[in-house]
């Protein structure tokens, strides 16, 4: 009844005519629903994917639906999966968050799809559960580190640091020149985690078995000096007075604008942010460079990497064949080209045959050496262990704002991690 009313209102013609007409139009084709997050680099890309895919497959019709990102998004995805009301296809994180949505129970395994042969193993490992692969990549790999303002570095005669001490020395010079050395944007709490999360490559060089012991409940942040360093570094930049005055109220957008326009020198961030520079501060993406989070020694300098989100098929899918067809398209070089034409590339692709375009912004070219031969990189902890405590971003805001000392924050995070491990039912907790 209500839907009829709606049709009348929408079309402005008789309800019966509308229902008949629309019924006839859709009778021949398959309709799939696709739930994506509302990120500015997700929506346009999927709109383009769907347009290209529908053009090639006129019998399949895909309806896009958006959801918020972050914690609220996790919530919606979990609730809808549990309720059996998930869209046919959906995007979601890989790594630890992927493990938390019970892939074996809720998603369609894609291990034997022919296109999996072209997907890099490093990606497959973060969308694998119980020996089955569940996802297809639709974006590029990312690095977590520090975006910096190139003109300011030139003006002050600085070079990108390889060690934390060099980084702090640079900060001191920038501060002495009367500028903001480190930008933090705690209004978007997730941005506060970067100094801790992007430090993981450094943790893993000091203690290669940390991830394994951490998952088993044997290694803790508070009692592992190498792991605690991330929290300490977060506190150091605050205590030294390097931060922008409005760090507590600034947003991710502000952070990008500041590092791009030279209002600040360094912004710890994931490289996918490069794609947003042109939109927020047009004409400035040439000003932003990138380096990995510096560690204790220049010899072990390397990049902590992030795997992109993946596309999954819900077990409750209405038309399995059509959905798989769409995923095959997303994980193809043709889709990468559509992506290149739609948004700024932000890192190397994970599908064989996908090429980055020629003129890349400097922040992306700065990142490629870490992936090239002789470069060092390793995945972030959330891709090596299923456990990520949900309160990390609140704790890092506290540590990064001087509300709570680093050691205390690390201990509190260990508590948070224990809760998550118990919820996941891991042994040893």
């Amino acid at each position: 009844m209500i839907f009829n009313l709606k049709s009348i209102a929408l079309a402005g013609v008789g309800a019966i005519a509308v229902l008949l007409a629309s019924g006839a139009a859709h009778a021949q084709s398959t309709t799939l629903t696709l739930l994506i997050d509302n990120g500015p680099q997700t929506v346009p890309v999927f709109e383009a994917y769907v347009a290209a895919f529908e053009a090639a497959n006129p019998d399949i019709n895909i309806e896009l639906e958006t959801r918020p990102g972050g914690g609220e998004g996790d919530n919606i995805v979990k609730t809808r999966l549990a309720a059996g009301a998930m869209a046919d296809i959906f995007t979601y994180n890989s790594g630890s968050l992927f493990q938390a949505i019970n892939p074996q129970q809720n998603m369609l395994p894609l291990t034997n799809e022919p296109w999996q042969a072209d997907v890099q193993d490093s990606f497959k490992s973060v969308v694998t559960s119980g020996g089955e692969v569940y996802g297809a990549p639709y974006a590029s790999a990312m690095g977590g580190g520090i975006l910096y303002n190139i003109p300011m570095y030139k003006e002050l005669g600085l070079t990108p640091p390889k060690t934390w001490d060099e980084f702090m020395a640079n900060n001191e010079k920038i501060k002495a020149a009367g500028k903001v050395a480190v930008i933090q944007t705690y209004a978007d709490t997730w941005t506060s985690q970067l100094f801790v999360l992007a430090d993981y490559y450094n943790v893993s060089t000091a203690q290669p078995d940390f991830a394994e012991k951490y998952t088993a409940g044997e290694a803790k942040y508070a009692t592992t000096p190498a792991a605690m360093q991330g929290f300490e570094r977060l506190q150091q930049v605050h205590d030294a007075g390097y931060l922008n005055e409005d760090f507590g109220a600034a947003t991710y957008n502000d952070g990008i604008r500041m590092v791009a326009t030279g209002e600040g020198a360094h912004y710890p961030m994931l490289t996918f942010a490069v794609g947003a520079i042109e939109e927020i501060a047009p004409g400035t993406s040439g000003n932003v460079g990138f380096f990995a989070q510096p560690g204790n020694s220049a010899d072990t300098n390397g990049l902590t990497t992030w795997m992109p989100d993946a596309v999954y098929i819900a077990k409750t899918v209405s038309n399995e064949e059509a959905a798989k067809k769409f995923l095959a398209y997303v994980a193809s070089p043709a889709a990468c080209e559509v992506r290149n034409a739609t948004v700024e590339p932000t890192g190397p692709y994970l599908v064989k045959g996908c090429e980055l375009p020629a003129n890349l912004p400097p922040a992306v070219t700065d990142m490629l050496p870490y992936f090239a031969d002789g470069g060092h990189n390793g995945p972030a902890l959330e891709f090596l262990s299923p456990i990520k405590g949900p309160a990390l971003e609140q704790i890092t805001v506290e540590v990064g704002s001087g509300i709570r000392p680093a050691a205390d924050g690390a201990a509190l995070y260990d508590e948070d991690v224990r809760k998550q491990a118990q919820q996941l039912g891991l042994p040893g907790w």
């Binding site: 709606k6 918020p68 978007d188 927020i280």
Partner: protein
């Protein structure tokens, strides 16, 4: 002398209320006139150039005219659930105030519980699915009725207590059936408190954000509050569009307000206070 102080007091009150209550709305309007880079600064400044029309067009057309769908959905949900709330709550309030049964204590407790307990989301979703109502406007309407009944009943019960019993008893002796008594005699007399109910509940339901988020997934089911998400994400917020959106979704409450402004105080006098 007295005249003068009251004028000065009045002017002071006007000035004060202007800063406290009007300026925030002016800010919303100014933001809706700006373009994206300027709005990103989020300061109180004069717009550079007139972008309201562009913003409006963009807000309305985004995601396949989602705003229009959202307005239709929200209007249907609000009108139907408020109508049902008025009738059902008045029925309960009427009998509850008139007839002392052993049920009364239990009902009072359940009403208080409804005001106090935050709803359990996931079991509710299972239930809605079992009834094939999950993700439908019908289901959403029933949810809004269930969650808002306690408050409406409280308002009605308090008001019914102030109406003399003679009226309904006289009608019964005339041979009228209970439903006739209720709809022809009682309900019209409850009009002042019905206005309060309509205003408070329609605004609450129209502005509800959390419940549609859980119980009404799907683009075709969007409600107006959820359209705010189109322009505010964790990665990028288009403040000009966000505030244009806020401006747009404030219009329906404004209309309700203009309609019922004079009767709101009367309804309150009648309902909430005499309890």
């Amino acid at each position: 002398m007295k005249q003068r102080t009251s004028i000065i007091g009045g002017l002071a009150a006007i000035a004060g209320s202007f800063f406290v209550f009007v300026v925030p709305f002016i800010f919303i309007i100014l933001m809706a006139f700006k373009d994206k880079p300027q709005s990103g600064l989020r300061d109180f400044s004069w717009p550079q150039g007139f972008h309201l029309w562009d913003n409006l067009v963009q807000v309305v057309t985004t995601r396949n005219w989602m705003m229009i769908t959202a307005f239709i959905n929200s209007a249907l949900i609000t009108v139907i659930s408020v109508t049902a709330l008025v009738v059902l709550a008045a029925m309960v309030g009427f009998v509850l105030a008139r007839r002392k049964t052993r049920l009364n204590g239990l009902i009072e407790f359940l009403i208080l519980a409804g005001l106090m307990i935050p709803p359990a989301v996931v079991p509710t979703i299972w239930l809605l699915q079992g009834l094939k109502l999950f993700g439908t406007l019908h289901g959403m309407i029933l949810i809004e009725i269930a969650y808002n009944l306690p408050f409406s009943i409280i308002l009605y019960r308090a008001f019914v207590a102030t109406i003399p019993r003679d009226l309904d008893e006289a009608a019964i002796i005339d041979g009228a059936r209970p439903l006739d008594v209720f709809f022809r005699i009682i309900l019209p007399m409850l009009w002042p408190v019905t206005v309060t109910n309509i205003v408070v509940q329609s605004v609450g339901i129209f502005n509800d954000f959390t419940n549609p988020l859980y119980y009404l997934p799907g683009n075709q089911n969007a409600t107006v509050q959820l359209t705010l998400y189109n322009f505010q994400s964790q990665f990028n917020t288009a403040y000009n569009l966000l505030f244009t959106n806020i401006l747009l979704i404030t219009i329906p409450p404004l209309i309700v307000f203009l309609f019922f402004n004079r009767q709101i105080v009367a309804g309150m006098t009648a309902g909430a206070v005499k309890g």
